[in-house]
Amino acid sequence: MVVFEKPKSLSPVPFHYCPGCTHGIVHRLVAEAIDKLEIEGSTIGIAPVGCSVFAYNYFECDMIQAAHGRAPAVATGLKRTRPDSVVFTYQGDGDLAAIGTAETVHAATRGENITIIFINNAIYGMTGGQMAPTTLPGQITTTSPYGRDRKIQGNPIRICEMLSTLDGAAYVERVSVDSPKNIMRAKRSIEKAFRTQLDKKGFSLVEVLSTCPTNWGMSPVESLEWLRTNMIPYYPLGVFKDTTEE
């Protein structure tokens, strides 16, 4: 009897991610949502630049690899020309909240009917642990070696809070994958984001608080604990905008 299977829309290839990295969990949740909604054939995913750049190898739907930060613009062009398709982007914090902030904000305020899965692990992973726009005050990275000093490196950015002020945003939620309970909540949230798009309700974004054991310099278990005790207080979980019932 099969009790646990790989989602059909997740490709049968090994991930390149580091041990303990939570990208694998989130990829799986996205694939589970695609499978449950039976939309693999009409879905196009857009991969970012960053650790998840190879996401185009991991999903069985059609995929596009975008320039750093530009995924929401690529998604806009695709969705506007193929309105019956399902378009999602998968982006990290550097991609979405630094170099691609303008594309993110304007896709949201236009109310583009796309879904963004936003991985916030407070660090640049691919390039080896530099400060991200979401790096916490005091957090040590290779480019904030003495800890992020608000007076020097400025403040982190809270994306969900900001986007929830925009009329075009239909569904904005922050979740975490630090515990089985939170993973189940993240699963429901990602599925709802896709459903928001299928119902043509507008822009949906799920921010997923994630870990980076390699560049945080911690074990996977310590990383999950660090996320709980440091990230969640700064980036509170919850639904920041939901107009899907209106």
Binding site: I46, C61, D62, M63, I64, A73, V74, L78, H106
Partner: protein, 353 residues
């Protein structure tokens, strides 16, 4: 029945795009090309299309990438400073082998420069559209009629060879009004876009639109494949116009609006008994080497005229293997030469022959 309409060059490009089946335009306002998006903002909704004003040129070119990746005919337009912003996206579009049309109605530069006509983006368009080993096809219209005709051609060339094609015009061509006949284009038969990312529908394996190769041997192969295609384009798509080159002692080389000024100068020279001719590159990339090489067999001197500091001169010298002297005359920053200025240059050359 052909009917001619009086239109601005910018409007002719916009209307030709619609007539070529382009239903998607993503742009950002900048002088002197704004009439393109204004025309399309009016027209697109009436033909079931979309004209979307992006938050930036950067976003606009990436919207073009998304639309092109989905297999749709798509266009963007801008002017010089905006094209610089598009160069990142352009490089990715080349790396992904996506067809699209980009219009540059040039203004003077560098920097914010000015808003008057210039041809100072020749290098950028023909040599350095973006980072990496890349080329794009560059078409240089010289009339409002050609703005329309070359726009139609641009879409076909883009689809046939899976490459971005640039219409390189200038503020004068964009703003001037001339009669244009849209019935003259002859669409080609084009391959199915079976590579597009539009959802596999459970009927095929997934398509990936991507410019990333972690294995350098794979990346080199992809660049070689693309350059083989460029050679094919050079063979089949190179275009130019020759005027009185057969017996010419002096051959002027000029494109776009400058070629028209040169034609007037050419006629003035001929009426003075000077054997002048003109080669007008219509494709700036690929560059028409052959007619220049041929002209160099009998011509004694070449005169390159441009609205810049001499950006096409090297291409002319390469085309003729430096077998003949090449003189440059140009104005820049939005300044325009008169036919008399060109004639004076021709007469100077005559004295030196």
């Amino acid at each position: 029945m052909s009917t001619k309409v009086l239109m601005k060059g910018n409007e002719a490009i916009a209307e030709a795009a619609i007539k070529s089946g382009c239903r998607y335009f993503f742009g950002y306002p900048i002088t002197p090309q704004t009439e393109i998006s204004e025309h399309l903002a009016k027209r697109m909704p009436k033909v079931g299309g979309l004209c979307l004003q992006a938050e930036s040129e950067v976003a606009a070119i990436n919207m073009v990438m998304g639309a092109a990746a989905g297999g749709s005919r798509v266009m963007t337009s801008s002017s010089s400073p905006g094209i610089s912003l598009k160069s990142e996206g352009l490089s990715y579009i080349v790396g992904c082998d996506l067809p699209c049309v980009i219009v540059n109605v040039q203004r003077g530069g560098p920097g914010l420069g000015g808003i008057q006509p210039a041809q100072s983006d020749y290098y950028q368009a023909t040599k350095a559209g973006g980072h990496g080993d890349m080329r794009i096809v560059v078409l240089a219209p010289a009339s409002v009629q050609e703005m329309a005709a070359l726009t139609a051609e641009a879409f076909d060339i883009a689809d046939l060879y899976r490459t971005p094609v640039m219409i390189l015009a200038d503020g004068a061509l964009g703003q001037m009004m001339e009669p244009v006949d849209f019935s003259v284009s002859s669409p080609r038969s084009l391959p199915e876009k079976d590579w597009a990312a539009k959802g596999h529908g459970g009927k095929r394996k997934k398509n990936i639109i991507n410019s990333l190769y972690m294995d350098p041997a794979d990346l080199e192969r992809s660049v070689h494949r693309r350059f083989a295609r460029y050679a094919d384009i050079k063979d089949k798509e190179t275009r130019f116009e020759e005027v009185m080159t057969e017996d010419a002692d002096i051959v002027i080389v000029a494109y776009g609006i400058t070629s028209r000024i040169c034609k007037s100068a050419l006629n003035m020279a001929r009426s003075k008994g000077i054997k002048a001719g003109l080669v007008r590159p219509i494709t700036l990339s690929p560059f028409p080497d052959a007619p220049l090489k041929k002209a160099a067999e009998s011509a004694k001197h070449f005169l390159v005229a441009e609205l810049n500091m001499g950006q096409m001169v090297d291409d002319v010298k390469i085309a003729i293997d430096c077998q003949r002297p090449v003189t440059f005359f140009g104005r820049t920053g939005g300044m325009m030469p008169s036919p008399e200025d060109i004639l004076e240059k021709i007469e100077d050359i005559v004295k030196s022959l």
